[in-house]
């Protein structure tokens, strides 16, 4: 059973909460490095949370294509096939 985009987005929004230290408002355009100020260690922990949450792999190659929240949601929707 696959989740639709809104459902996936809601789950990712919940997973991102503990990493969003400054409580920045999240939209599809929110960028991980520039807006949320994720460093490489945070990225690693956050990606692991998403991977475990959805039981998927987001390889480094795929991560390189993901800059903002909207792209992450799209990628997760796609990876769940």
């Amino acid at each position: 059973m696959t989740m639709d985009r809104a459902e996936t987005s809601a789950r990712i929004a919940a997973l991102i909460e503990p990493f969003n230290k400054k409580g920045i408002e999240i939209t599809d355009a929110t960028r991980f490095t520039d807006d949320l100020e994720f460093d490489s260690l945070t990225v690693m922990d956050f990606v692991a949370e998403i991977e475990d949450g959805f039981d998927i792999i987001i390889s480094m190659n795929q991560q390189a294509e993901i800059e903002n929240y909207g792209q992450l949601v799209d990628a997760v929707v796609k990876l769940q096939g």
């Binding site: 490489s40 690693m44 692991a48 991977e51 475990d52 039981d55 792999i57 390889s59 480094m60 190659n61």
Partner: protein
């Protein structure tokens, strides 16, 4: 055609170096405090594997990875001189053209004997061995599962190839297994691990990790750069020590540490391994090692097969230094000494650099490691012991650390 520049117009140039501005500023900031540049040290004269002249001062070397002290071994040096006389200064050619001399075959045989494996392939450096083997064996559609704290040469090998790259948390067996389990059925899998992780000097639980990798049908590559010659019953490394070397498909190693010269290698029992010599670009498109280097390496590798006394002394040195620094109040990378690397954790880069300089003034050279090369953005003073450090030198080192730690405000 109207948007083309006419002959005497020029566009504002983008300086390709502006991306380095933050690093340039950081270095300026650090050096403006008056500390010596920790990345600009010159060894004016090298007296032995453990002593050199730096800034006109006799300095104990404690950050060279010269674990077995082979750099000045008389047999090793004699072999190198002989090869210079007999074969010249260099090969001027690739291994697959005019760059394979008798010495290159001899050192590969020595490696086969040392590891008791069928195939050995020598590269110009260990960096190139990782680059070449990883990028060549894992191709499009394959998956590389690797420890997040892997050496730069492993990461670069991943980047150079076309495989999907999937890192997991350092030494975390469960995190590794989860990722292996999620890989689509039928895809090729390569698990990349290290025996000793050189930043903190900790070892990997290879036996458990390799068992999991095999359960998921993955091939396993282990980089044993920092264990050769002194870990395991025959010095073959951590996998041998934990009794799982037979399940390792590829061992990567280097001549630049225990062997005491330069070069890298991969040893394997894979029946088709020899094809690597034709398809591995960092092996094919570069000149082979000079004859003197392979001669010194072969002699050194063979001597390391019978180095039980040296090995015991190296372990003794590591234990004494680890205990001495712990007792002095320093925070170390591991609770127990797991290898010949002892990492002293610094509060930040600035005080790390101050401590590094204070040690140099005491007459001690250690390795300063800083982010992004370090895990968890730590600043480390990495010490690597040598089998040729005397028991007195180790005591001297502990005294130097204690004094420098007070000077730099690291110890209370």
């Amino acid at each position: 055609m109207t948007d083309m520049l006419s002959d005497n117009e020029t566009q504002g140039a983008t300086d390709l170096f502006s991306k380095f501005d933050p690093l340039i500023e950081m270095r300026k900031g650090l050096l403006s405090t008056g500390v010596t540049d920790p990345f600009g040290l010159v060894m004016e004269k090298v007296i032995s594997p453990t002593v050199a002249m730096c800034n006109g001062r006799e300095t104990i070397l404690l950050g060279t990875y010269n674990y077995m002290g082979m750099t000045f071994d008389p047999d090793v040096i004699a072999a190198g001189k002989q090869a210079l006389d007999d074969f010249g200064a260099g090969t001027t050619g690739s291994r697959v053209l005019n760059g394979t001399y008798a010495g290159h075959k001899a050192v590969e045989e020595a490696l086969c004997d040392f590891y008791d494996m069928k195939h050995a392939m020598v590269f110009s450096t260990g960096y190139q061995a990782n680059l070449g083997i990883i990028s060549t064996i894992a191709g499009k559609g394959d998956y590389i599962v690797l420890d997040i704290d892997s050496h730069a040469s492993i990461w670069d090998g991943c980047k150079m190839g076309d495989a999907e790259v999937v890192p997991f948390k350092h030494n975390d067996i469960e995190a590794m297994e989860k990722r292996l389990r999620r890989i689509p059925e039928g895809a090729g899998k390569l698990v990349v691990l290290e025996g000793v992780y050189s930043m903190l000097g900790d070892i990997a639980p290879l036996k458990e990790m390799i068992a999991v990798a095999k359960k998921y049908g993955a091939m396993v590559l282990v980089d044993e750069a920092h264990s050769m010659g002194f870990i395991g019953p025959n010095g073959r490394g951590v996998a041998e020590d934990q009794g799982c070397l037979d399940d390792v498909d590829f061992v990567i190693g280097t001549f630049s540490k225990s062997v005491g010269t330069v070069g890298g290698f991969c040893v394997s029992n894979h029946p088709k391994f020899e094809i690597m010599r034709l398809v591995c670009r960092p092996y094919v498109f570069t000149a082979s090692l000079p004859p003197s280097v392979v001669a010194t390496a072969a002699t050194s590798v063979r001597k390391l097969m019978h180095a039980a006394d040296k090995r015991a002394h190296l372990w003794e040195n590591s234990k004494v230094l680890h205990k001495g620094l712990t007792d002095a109040g320093f925070q170390l990378g591991t609770e127990e000494p797991q290898s010949a690397i002892i990492a002293v954790i610094m509060p930040d880069l600035e005080r790390g650099a101050m401590m590094w300089e204070a040690l140099l003034h005491e007459g001690l050279y250690v390795n300063l490691a800083r982010p992004p090369a370090t895990p968890a953005n730590m600043t480390l003073l990495r010490c690597s012991l040598c089998a040729e450090h005397s028991a007195e030198q180790v005591q001297q080192i502990i005294g130097m650390f204690t004094r420098a730690g007070k000077t730099a405000g690291i110890l209370g």
